[in-house]
């Protein structure tokens, strides 16, 4: 699958959670120019529209800090925060929503495109980083198995720890499988399996 370019905004869909009519009109015009479609939601509502969107534009000042509504939203799309008040109490609230980018009010016609590109790029990187972290966590979880396999080979074949690990690594490479998968098999048969066919 090719990665979507963050610069390609045409056809994407934005959700505007805003109150100020002039700001809404300004952004709507700008989204039109960019070829994006827009839906709107009231800042006070407890649930967001079910339609999937590519980005959310959220006017931070339109939602009281101590209300639960924004926290109850299931947000999967990157957020562009519109910032008027720069007090730390407001910014702390905003950080909890993990905005992907922001625009400072008063809004102008310039700036939205940059904010969108940064938000899309940020969202893409977050997806990639999450996948990377998942792979790493898998490997950490299987470390226990690799260690058990190394111990198995040390006992069964009287190898040093280093030689046992080298043997597992080379065998895994030869059979085009992963160290983790081969370790599972070593533990299952109590020693290096006698493999005649390639797995994986």
């Amino acid at each position: 699958m090719t990665k979507p370019s963050p610069f390609a905004v045409r056809g994407r869909r934005a959700l505007m959670i805003m109150k100020d009519e002039r700001d809404i009109a300004l952004l709507r015009r700008q989204f039109d120019r960019l070829g994006m479609s827009v839906i709107e939601a009231e800042p006070a509502q407890s649930q967001l529209p079910p339609d999937p969107v590519d980005v959310i534009v959220l006017d931070a000042d339109s939602i009281p800090i101590k209300s639960d509504c924004a926290l109850s939203w299931k947000i999967n799309s990157p957020i562009i925060a519109l910032i008027g008040t720069e007090t730390p109490s407001r910014l702390k609230w905003l950080l909890d929503l993990q905005p992907a980018s922001f625009l400072v009010k008063p809004l102008r016609s310039a700036g939205l495109y940059t904010a969108l590109v940064v938000a899309f790029d940020c969202a893409q990187r977050r997806i990639e980083e999450a996948a990377h972290v998942e792979r790493l966590e898998d490997r950490i979880r299987s470390r226990r198995i690799v260690v058990a396999a190394v111990l198995q080979l040390i006992r069964a074949h009287a190898l040093s720890e280093e030689d046992a690990f080298t043997l597992i690594r080379q065998t895994a490479m030869r059979y085009r499988t992963t160290i983790e998968q081969l370790s599972v098999e070593i533990i299952a048969v109590g020693g290096m399996p006698n493999r005649t066919s390639r797995t994986a």
Partner: protein, 392 residues
């Protein structure tokens, strides 16, 4: 020869949720305008153009737009809430006009097109918290209105108090205008906190003060209430019994000694009646007009850049004492004061800073290490901070 006249925009919400305070501010602005116009010290007169946005945030933009386009004003005095100021800032920045803002606010803003005459957070919440930690308690119950002033005041309070080893016992919020205060008052009576920090505004605050006073009397309790916003006309709204004993931080109280203030109060009472009271915001609005008039005189022009330059560092001996604009951030040097509310809708000042304090809107100079670490063994400490200067 008649003096040249200068149009002056006055934007106050005479109707709407904070009409009471806004009317006080407008009265002060008009009094200052009259004094300037009658004075031989100024070779111009102000022509006030009044606008009432009715407390509707979006209406502030239209009011200022109209003042600038139709009345050709270069200077506007007005706004009370931060939400309204944020509406006005884009238009004064775009058209290079100057907004003279009288009300204290929570800070974290600094526009070249606003002169912030009201107190910055280092003038209000910081000295109040210092006093609380030094003299009252290190644990506090917070009751406030659900908006930016409370959020930010409570954040500063929390930061200082927890840095000093103390604790916020609870933070209870009411929507603006809500007067259903009983659940908060009941919780306070149940938990008996050593102090209550009140950032409620308007009717919510008056209802809360009355209900807390009544409940405390029934329970035989006396819990100190602290505020950064209560002013004399509000004490009157709360009523004679419940308004007494509140510890308040402000740059202005009607009871300030000194010739300037005594004369100012006398002129005010002559104009508005002996039973009327001044307020910090009213006095600050008067100061706005006077700072503007002096800057125009000094600049010899109403041009915004020239006026801004002329206002910078130019000391004015106002009713609240010496005031001048810090050109670094367009906020004012002011003298913080602490007072206790007493009978007769007045405040008895018990501490004031030795000199006007530099405004610090971003609290970048706030030194958390300078706050007392109260003795955790006892709820109250009676250590005296060296910064305290007792004036009464």
């Amino acid at each position: 020869m008649t003096k040249p006249s200068i149009p002056l925009g006055l934007v106050f919400s005479r109707s709407g949720p904070y009409a009471m305070m806004a009317r006080e501010m407008e009265k002060s602005a008009l009094m200052a305008v009259d004094e300037v116009n009658r004075s031989g010290e100024f070779d111009f007169t102000f022509v006030p153009h009044l606008r009432d946005p009715g407390g509707v945030v979006a209406a502030y933009h239209a009011c200022c737009d109209n003042l600038i386009r139709e009345e050709q004003v270069e200077h506007i005095v007005g706004c009370y809430t931060s939400a309204s100021r944020k509406q006005v800032i884009p238009i004064v920045e775009r058209t290079e006009r100057l907004l003279w803002h009288p009300a204290r606010y929570e800070g974290f803003e600094s526009s070249d097109n606003v002169i912030y005459v009201g107190a910055a957070p280092n003038h209000t919440v910081v000295p109040l918290v210092r006093h609380m930690l030094d003299r009252i308690a290190s644990e506090v119950f917070c009751a406030g209105s659900n908006y930016v002033w409370t959020w930010e005041s409570n954040r500063v309070l929390r930061e200082i108090v927890s840095g000093a080893g103390g604790r916020i016992l609870a933070e209870r919020l009411l929507e603006l205008g809500d007067t259903a205060v009983d659940h908060i008052v009941n919780e306070i009576i149940d938990r008996k906190p050593p102090a209550v920090f009140n950032t409620l505004v308007g009717e919510s605050s008056y209802a809360f003060m009355r209900a807390l006073h009544a409940a405390s009397q029934r329970a035989g309790l006396s819990i100190p209430v602290l505020s950064c916003s209560l002013c004399e006309p509000e004490l009157k709204m709360i009523g004679p019994a419940a308004s007494v004993g509140c510890i308040t931080s402000s740059a202005y109280f009607e009871s300030i000694e000194g010739a300037e203030n005594r004369a100012f109060v006398a002129r005010w009472k002559a104009r508005h009646g002996t039973d009327s009271n001044l307020s910090v915001d009213g006095q600050s609005t008067y100061v706005c007009v006077m700072l503007l008039a002096r800057a125009i005189r000094r600049a010899g022009s109403t041009d915004v850049a020239a006026v801004r330059r002329a206002a910078a560092n130019h000391r004015y001996d106002s009713p609240q004492g010496p005031v001048w604009v810090d050109p670094a951030n367009n906020h004012c040097f002011l003298t913080p004061r602490l007072a206790r509310s007493v009978q007769g809708s007045q405040f008895e000042i018990f501490w004031e800073a030795e000199a006007p304090e530099r405004p610090d809107p971003y609290l970048s100079d706030l030194d958390l290490a300078s706050f007392a670490r109260p003795d955790k063994a006892s709820e109250t400490t009676l250590r005296r901070g060296s910064h305290l200067r007792v004036v009464k």
